[in-house]
């Protein structure tokens, strides 16, 4: 609570100083309030879009896709302190910067065979949440522990349009955790491509701790 005293006749000379202190104290309090409100109104969000055709995804194995791992990408939107050249997937920097919290993570893409399409073959899109192994000095995936995932499987109709896939999930993520966007398919007649324009995003819905129970 801010307290403001009233000047008395014997200290009129101090009025200028008192107004100065009042202005600074009001500014400090309002600054804190403004930061909290802006955070609530503008959830930390990063959106990235691929700019290069991803090719050569073989059947029968899970492939990393999206704004990471072999794809060129552009930052579509970022209102966070995360550097603009950081990829949101396959990267432990993102949640080091954004911190513990409940996040919404999404990914959309068009998966289209590079050649023949096998009718009714599946396309499984996954958003995976991993905890890195702090003792590992190898690539990110080595020693990681899968904590949570969202997935969806769709099937190929072989009409020439490929399969449009979209997936959104909510995850409780700690600082330093990693997410991956992956796809697996069984289109054995040809490899799979991911069209330009695949979109991945991360938004922080809230802090991780529950501060009140209603």
């Amino acid at each position: 609570m801010m307290t403001l005293s009233c000047p008395e006749p014997e200290n009129y000379a101090a009025i200028a100083k008192q107004l100065h202190e009042t202005a600074l104290e009001a500014e400090a309090r309002i600054y804190e309030l403004e930061a909290a409100l802006r955070a609530a109104a503008n959830l930390p969000t990063i959106v990235q879009t691929t700019t290069v055709l991803r090719t050569g995804l073989s059947s029968g194995s899970e492939s990393l896709i999206g704004p990471a791992f072999g794809s060129g990408w552009a930052e579509t939107f970022n209102n966070t302190a995360v550097d603009s050249d950081e990829q949101i997937a396959n990267n432990d920097t993102i949640f080091q910067v954004l911190g513990d919290g409940v996040y919404e993570v999404g990914f959309t893409c068009n998966a289209i065979p590079s050649g023949a399409a096998d009718s009714n073959s599946f396309r499984q899109l996954r958003i995976q949440h991993y905890v890195p192994d702090p003792t590992s000095s190898g690539p990110l995936q080595v020693g990681m522990r899968l904590l949570d995932h969202a997935s969806y499987s769709l099937f190929e109709s072989a009409v020439g349009n490929g399969v449009d896939v979209s997936l959104v999930g909510e995850f409780r993520i700690n600082a330093g955790d990693v997410i991956f966007f992956t796809i697996q398919h069984n289109n054995t007649s040809s490899t799979m491509n991911i069209s330009i324009g695949a979109i991945g995003w991360v938004t922080k819905l809230s802090e991780a701790t529950l501060t009140a129970v209603l």
Binding site: K17, A23, Y31, G106, S166
Partner: protein, 169 residues
């Protein structure tokens, strides 16, 4: 010579200045104006411009033609610039005799952003539910196209929601 605070430029008199009622008024008005700004932020945080269009008027779709849904409540014009999660569900009202493939795509100002495909070899009409993110300016128009292969016509309606994640600074 009056000075101002470093962040919000609240005015205050300096020692040696002649203090008048205007000094109190100016400081109070500056604080009041800033609080009014915060009030707008608070209202925005509590009342996000989210939308949920629950059941559009139905539309008849011919087979093999990418058709834009145009009936009432199947499109949405963004009112506040921001990043939105848009979800659309295209649902059959009257299913066609046969259907083998369905695709719904969400467009921003007629540019495809994302979509969702259903392989319907069993001739069962199932909803297509694309969900994705759109970075939008005020006035941008969100529409959906629907395509299917099969025979006969397909009568559908759409359910569209747009959830604001954050404003564009």
């Amino acid at each position: 010579m009056p000075a101002t605070t470093p962040i919000f430029a609240f005015p205050y008199p300096c020692p040696g200045d002649t203090v008048s009622a205007a000094d109190f008024t100016n400081l109070a008005n500056a604080i009041d104006a800033k609080l009014l700004e915060l009030s707008a932020d608070a209202s925005f945080a509590l009342n996000r411009p989210n939308v949920d269009l629950n059941f559009s008027l139905t539309q008849v779709i011919p087979p093999g033609v990418v058709t834009t849904l145009t009936t009432a409540d199947s499109t949405y014009t963004i009112t506040t610039a921001g990043v939105y999660v848009v979800r659309v569900s295209v649902v059959d009202t009257v299913a066609p005799p046969t259907v083998t493939y369905q695709r719904a795509q969400v467009l921003q100002n007629a540019v495809v952003r994302f979509g969702f495909t259903q392989d319907s070899e069993s001739n069962i009409a199932v909803p297509c539910r694309p969900a994705g993110v759109i970075v939008a300016a005020a006035g941008d128009v969100i529409t959906t196209t629907f395509l299917y292969t099969g025979t006969g016509t397909y009568t559908v309606h759409a359910e569209l929601s747009a959830k604001l994640l954050c404003r564009i600074p």
